[in-house]
Every structure is written in structure tokens, then in C-alpha cells.
Symmetry: C2
Subunit: 117 residues, 2 copies
């Protein structure tokens, strides 16, 4: 697609469910931990508060991107979170567009360095 095509920089595939900063962190963390993570580990790795993490997980669960399982481990409640196959697929589609943004920006940076001031 040429640099001048209509909508060239619209990046329509930047799915807002995924693009939100905290959710992008949560999903990238979960994609990097395919066996899933305990709520407390996810909270620590994404540096979110309990409330914020819960709120964003709810959005992702409603979008069927994340599965949340509540159980008991050593008689204590345990919540584990993992990406669903549909979530993985949707994230992969988003990632393709994000890679295009990065490529566009990197090409612009190269152009700038090689063109006369």
C-alpha cells in the first residue's frame, strides 16, 4: 500500500479491546505464559492494582479472550487466568497491525537519517 493511499494510517485492526495500555500488557504477559498465571502473579508482572486487574480481566473474559478459573489450592482460594484459543488468534491479528505501525515508523526514521537536512 502506497504512503498516500486513503486510510493508509488508519490502522483499523488496532482492536480497542486489546489496544488499551493495561490490557495490552495483560495479554502480552499471558501470551508469554501459555500455561496461564495466578491472578497474583499477573498483578505483579503487569504492576496493576487488584481492582484494575479485575476490571480489565472482566472486559477480556466478556470478549472471550481470557478464561478465568477459580479453585482451592491448600484450602485457599486460587484464581488462574489464561488466554483462550480465540483470544490468541485475535491477539495475533492485532499484532500484525502493530508490526505494521512499527515498520512504518522505522522506515520514516531511516528516511530521515538518509535525506539531506
Amino acid at each position: 500500500m502506497s504512503k498516500t493511499t486513503e486510510g493508509r494510517y488508519a490502522y483499523e485492526g488496532l482492536d480497542r479491546v486489546i489496544h488499551e495500555k493495561a490490557r495490552l500488557g495483560i495479554l502480552t504477559c499471558l501470551v508469554s505464559h501459555p500455561k496461564g498465571l495466578a491472578f497474583s502473579d499477573l498483578r505483579r508482572l503487569c504492576k496493576l492494582t487488584d481492582g484494575n486487574l479485575s476490571r480489565h480481566l472482566q472486559v477480556l473474559e466478556e470478549a472471550e479472550m481470557v478464561a478465568i478459573e477459580k479453585s482451592f489450592v491448600d484450602n485457599r482460594p486460587h484464581t488462574s487466568c489464561r488466554l483462550t484459543p480465540a483470544g490468541r488468534k485475535r491477539y495475533a491479528g492485532y499484532l500484525n497491525v502493530l508490526e505494521q505501525v512499527v515498520r512504518d515508523a522505522e522506515e520514516a526514521a531511516v528516511l530521515l537519517r538518509t535525506s539531506p537536512a
Copy 2:
């Protein structure tokens, strides 16, 4: 940074002024057109309405990332937009973090393909 470090997936440098989907498109478009663009070209390339583009440009102008110049060309009002040097620098910082997100996600995808099912 290890995959298990606290805040590993917080991506704190994902500046919300830049990360918003439409503004990310506008800025990537402007970084690719270092001489600036007419408002109408920017609107077409980013596929935004007049109102939406104006609103986002105002946010970027207040953040001193974008300079907007109103003039007359052939007796008709003409608005041109370009990235400021500060805007370019701030966008470059954001891009570093975005590249990290993409690297993390790509590494996870490689791991997934090479690990037993």
C-alpha cells in the same frame, strides 16, 4: 529483564497521549511526512472525520507534539500540520516501548511453535 520481574509487562512508556489509536495513526503519518501535511491530506490518510481529526490535533498541539499553521493559499484558508522536534523525540521514546511489546509477543509465538503440544 527476566520474564518474571515485577512490572515486566507494565510497559510504562506507552504514553497515553500517543497510544490512543487515532493519535497513533496521526503521529505515524506525520513522522512519515517530515515536511508536514495539509489538514485535508492528513484526514484522508488517517480516515478520520473533520471533527475527530480536529479534536485529536488539539490534544497533540497542547502536548506541544504537533505544530498547526493556518495560512492562505490562492486566497483560500489552508491548515498544515507537522511534528515538532519535541514531538518526534517523544514519539521515538514511545516507539522503543512498542518495539518491546512486539518483541515479547514474537518471542512467545516462537516458543509456542517450538515447544511440545
